[in-house]
């Protein structure tokens, strides 16, 4: 056991996989010489050399295209898109090429690749550097999508992503990079598609992802003080989605609140709510309530950004509506 930061966990996961498999390579803007804009890839150039750890021009389409072409010809690339907002400049590569090639070719094209990206708000970077866009990826068939909330999950999910035969997008949350957590020693490999039960309670199910997990947990503590016992599920993986963990919890509690950072419309919370409203309808004892950022871009000023993103207070406000 050792305490690591979330950013250190990224570098450790990549090193673990590069050590194990010489076909694993890393590319992106400033990932090599500078160790990454978020300092999450520090030391990798020194350890694995410039053939495996490569700085690129500011050319996201070329970065992802290169990852794709390398993956289909035998490498297992890890590409970095510095801020997840920049997926917009290479969305064709992600949504039309990487996601669809295996299906269109009836399974001929293999794409074992990983795209890591700094996602989410809280850093006062404004609308073009703060988005939570995991729902963009979730909406596109052919992409696996994970978003770890703690250092040990960073390692477990990133390692699982590298070993997975399909393309996986790993959303690292920017505001979590400096956070710390205990990490077991030795090799760590997780599973894609397993939610984690972070807290057990019989009155209500709270589902959250990435930076919203601590928010949900704190809300659950406050609720406990008022006598309401909440289960908190850390979804961890959006595709594959651990539907059964959510359904069995909601079956037990009868109430669901989702806590998501993306803007209001068409987020993973909407998907989850719809699944529950279809598959678990008769077990529901109250409305399903989603706590989200309102349907606006994130403002830059600290006070405004804090108001926009879901907070413990907003979760607490939502719970009575869900309990009905």
């Amino acid at each position: 056991m050792a305490e690591l930061t979330y950013r250190e966990a990224v570098a450790r996961a990549i090193a673990q996989e590069m050590e194990r498999d010489p076909s694993v390579v890393l590319l992106g803007e400033d990932v090599a010489g500078a160790g990454g804009a978020f300092k999450a890839t520090g030391g990798l150039l020194e350890r694995f050399g410039p053939e495996r750890v490569r700085d690129t021009p500011i050319s996201e389409q070329a970065i992802l295209g290169a990852a794709m072409g390398a993956a289909m010809t035998g490498l297992r690339p890890i590409a970095e898109v510095m801020f997840s907002d920049f997926f917009a400049v290479c969305w064709d590569m992600v949504a039309n090429q990487i996601a669809k090639s295996r299906y269109m070719t009836a399974g001929q094209v293999q794409l074992p690749l990983v795209v890591r990206s700094g996602n989410g708000g809280g850093s006062r970077f404004g609308a073009q550097h703060s988005q939570s866009v995991e729902n963009w990826a979730m909406a596109v068939p052919g992409l696996k999508v994970v978003a770890p909330s703690c250092p040990s999950d960073v390692i477990g999910l990133l390692a699982a992503a590298v070993r997975d035969p399909d393309p996986v997008l790993v959303f690292e949350h920017k505001s979590l990079y400096p956070t710390k957590g205990e990490v077991p020693d030795g090799e760590l490999v997780g599973h894609l598609g397993q939610a984690a039960l972070r807290r057990q309670g019989g009155d209500l199910t709270l589902v959250a992802l990435a930076a919203m997990v601590p928010v949900a947990l704190e809300a659950a503590e406050r609720l406990a003080a008022e006598g309401v016992q909440a289960t908190v599920i850390d979804l961890r993986s959006l595709v594959p989605l651990d539907v059964s963990t959510v359904l069995s919890s909601v079956s037990a509690t009868g109430h669901l609140v989702t806590v998501e950072e993306n803007p209001r419309l068409c987020g993973w919370g909407a998907e989850l709510a719809s699944i529950v409203a279809e598959e678990c309808f008769y077990d529901l004892d109250g409305p399903i309530v989603r706590v989200t950022t309102p349907h606006v871009p994130l403002p830059a000023a600290d006070s405004l950004e804090d108001l926009a993103r879901p907070s413990v207070a907003r979760v607490l406000e939502a719970v009575p509506r869900a309990l009905g």
Partner: protein, 340 residues
């Protein structure tokens, strides 16, 4: 404009020998026959989706096809039948794919625009303009990393030179000095708009080469020997660590952009001019002049026709795709489940 005089950036190392000549001719004829048949089948409503033919552009595919090593990689656009054929992919699955049958190359899942045969080094036909240039760069990176000596060859149209991915791919390929050959088939038109009307330079690819530190190369894309020699030189350069090439092969499509486009937007004289330079009869005449016996050419032609006939019959006989294919092969496990 794109009709400006051609320059040959790479001098042919030697004239092609008679065997090469026949090989070039064979592929040109096969492509010609295949594409004409695909058009007929479209008119018979058997090709259901869209299709983009290479009629008139056969010399480019043939010249490269003959020059490439079996383990080299092709990346093509939606106008990719010809490039698939020259890699030695059997004609039946190609035709069956156009017809949307279970015996299609992609079992009907991809259609005309996405022909792919990884086993033959045909790494895909891409329907988003420009998208496959960065992908070819990635394949070349993998070849360089593994020191495999493979080269990625990437074909695209004149119109693709104006999209961002072109720029990013060229720059990265040069910076990383990768074994990739970019081949612009300049057929003077994007869909219906003349390329000269929307491009800042006369030669859409060649005039951009210096922006990536590469020499400008524009060749006669209707001359299979020029194409073949240029291809050999570029492949050799790539294989020996000399880095990428960008080649503009000027050519012309005889028909419309896709399917039943009558291509009325093109001046009659221009069409007539280019039809007079039809690469297939022109090369035939050249071979005859070089002493290739007429009956040998006729044999090649008959074989091509027979192969296309057989492929047509076999394709037509194919069943519709298994309904289970709808939800198959999204993931490596063969399925498409999004829940665990």
């Amino acid at each position: 404009m794109a009709t400006s005089p051609l320059t040959t950036g790479t001098e042919p190392a030697a004239r092609s020998g008679p065997e090469t000549g026949l090989a070039l001719y064979r592929w040109m004829v096969v492509i010609r026959q295949f594409e004409k048949r695909a058009y007929d089948l479209f008119l018979q409503n058997l090709v259901k989706g869209t299709s983009h033919l290479s009629l008139g552009q056969e010399a480019v595919a043939a010249g490269f096809g003959v020059a490439m090593r079996p383990d080299d990689w092709t990346f093509a656009t939606y106008r990719g039948h010809a490039h698939t054929i020259v890699r030695g992919v059997p004609l039946t699955p190609i035709m069956a794919e156009l017809l949307g049958r279970d015996n299609g190359l992609l079992r009907g899942k991809g259609g005309s625009m996405h022909l792919t045969s990884v086993a033959h080094g045909m790494m895909g036909s891409y329907a988003i303009v420009g998208a496959h240039l960065p992908v070819a760069v990635g394949a070349a990176w993998s070849a360089a990393y593994r020191k495999s000596g493979q080269v990625a060859v990437c074909f695209f149209g004149d119109g693709a030179t104006n999209i961002g991915a072109f720029h990013e791919a060229l720059n990265l390929a040069v910076v990383w000095n990768l074994p990739v050959v970019f081949v612009c088939e300049n057929n003077l038109y994007m869909e219906y708009t003349p390329i000269g009307a929307v491009t800042a330079v006369p030669r859409p690819a060649a005039d951009r080469a210096p922006a990536y530190g590469l020499p400008p190369v524009a060749i006669d894309g209707n001359d299979p020997e020029v194409v073949h020699q240029t291809a050999l030189a570029a492949l050799e350069r790539a294989r020996s660590g000399g880095g990428p090439s960008l080649i503009e092969a000027v050519t012309y499509r005889h028909g419309g952009h896709s399917r039943a486009d009558p291509a009325t937007y093109r001046p009659k004289e221009e069409v007539a001019d280019w039809l007079a330079r039809d690469p297939v009869p022109a090369y035939r005449a050249r071979l005859v002049g070089a002493g290739v016996p007429e009956d040998e050419l006729q044999r090649v032609e008959a074989e091509a026709k027979e192969a296309v006939d057989r492929a047509t019959e076999e394709a037509k006989a194919g069943p519709p795709p298994d309904p289970g294919l709808v939800t198959a092969d999204l993931w490596a496990d063969g399925g498409s489940s999004w829940r665990s």
